[in-house]
Point group: C2
Chain length 231, copies 2
DNA sequence: TAGATTGTTAATCGATTAACAATC
DNA sequence: TAGATTGTTAATCGATTAACAATC
């Protein structure tokens, strides 16, 4: 077996390497060292070498990695050697943006259809991608053998959407709805809740001293009957 | 000091707890156990208790957590007790969607302005949020004391956009552009590259056996002069 | 009180970092 | 060959899980 179960953290970094390699290849650079990949990615050179080593020995000692060859290997590893067909469930603002964005910016993915339950949207197109009624989804997904779906419906509709696509054969879901999806074993869900990303970032937007100030003040305000054990 | 430096993984989970508490409060539930939070979040109950314990003892043994009280503490911890003003840099498809999405779905955040360098967009509005010329950004961000910016410009323009907002006082950036941003110490960047999310998910969309099959075939094809050490 | 559930300490697990031999 | 950089093993670090005493 070429690989044992490689950790999620490793897999999440592979597309970053791929993106950098694509950029290097476009600039006609043909060799790259782990050090240079480190500069572009923000991961350490050691980590990059270790990540790649899970899948084989792709470099040349003393010289680095051939960009074209390494790119080829990575797209094979991820499974991007053929363009992947996906569908977007939900053709509201976010669904529309995701459909357009992936069509325009993601060279390894095709969005082949969008679905919505709003009959006013059905039949319309996002660029040249048609919006179908959500009822059509199982037949479409089954027929086209779609394995990957993007869910961009409101929270209340997300579980239903997930059940629908899973039943139709989808193996992996990129979920933009702010709920935990319950799916059968073997189906993978990545959450991309944009409000959560932003909120956790806000924690870091005030300096540490300010944060502590804020929290201390709260306890003194008498709004709280619990006190901090440390302090 | 109320908290030592708490790890990023912990901070990333806090908004998830917050979202669940908001939902519970809306349903007029007033107590919740770590077990129930676990069901809704997908994190283990032990982990949830430990996460919260970094900041204090917010629960009642035998009873669980008061939803309203715990929510109050979490929004204080993250720094969401006042609505946070943010700006969106880039008013293309993605920038527009993010502006709308955060206005509509993120109760803790205000998007107060969008910026673009395309003069055809300047002066227009996204819902009721005005699009200004990017040149106006420093004055606006400085004047309004904006600390958080969302970058949704093309890769080639992203570093320049980052430099601009950082110079103007921004402390935290949510970056949707597919490049690593170089920022001074103390400025926080979260990357939300949507193509990368989708690509790493694709790895899991084919069953393990298929993946191995694919990789084996490649080596036998003779396209490669390197062989896998294992197998 | 008895039952339930937190808060916290200890044990385990996994991921990152450091170091260096292999080798181009 | 000498210099450079990989691939890999060992050491460290950090995060998660397990266990349980505290206590409502």
């Amino acid at each position: 077996m070429p690989e044992r179960n490689v950790s999620k953290s490793v897999i999440k970094r592979l597309p970053v390497y791929l993106r950098i390699l694509d950029q290097l290849i476009q600039r006609r650079v043909d060799m790259v060292s782990s050090k240079e990949l480190s500069n572009e990615s923000g991961f350490t050179a050691e980590q990059i070498r270790k990540d790649l080593a899970y899948f084989g020995a792709f470099g040349t000692r003393g010289a680095g990695y051939n960009t074209v060859y390494l790119r080829e290997r990575i797209i094979k590893i991820i499974g991007l050697d053929k363009k992947i067909d996906t569908v977007v469930i939900g053709a509201g603002n976010l669904g529309t943006a995701l459909t357009r964005y992936n069509s325009a910016k993601n060279p390894y993915v095709n969005v082949t259809a969008a679905f919505d339950r709003d009959s006013r949207l059905v039949g319309k197109k996002i660029d040249n991608i048609e919006i179908f009624d959500i009822e059509e989804a199982p037949r479409y997904i089954g027929g086209q053998d779609i394995r990957v779906a993007i869910i961009a419906v409101p929270a209340a509709a997300a579980q239903e959407a997930a059940d629908l696509v899973v039943k139709s054969g989808v193996r992996a879901i990129l979920n933009f709805a702010p709920v935990k999806l319950h799916v059968p074993e073997g189906v993978h869900v990545h959450n991309a809740d944009l409000t959560i990303e932003l909120q956790s970032l806000i924690y870091y937007s005030s300096a540490e001293e300010e944060r502590n100030e804020r929290l201390k003040k709260e306890t003194k305000d008498g709004k709280s009957d619990k006190s901090f054990p440390l302090e």
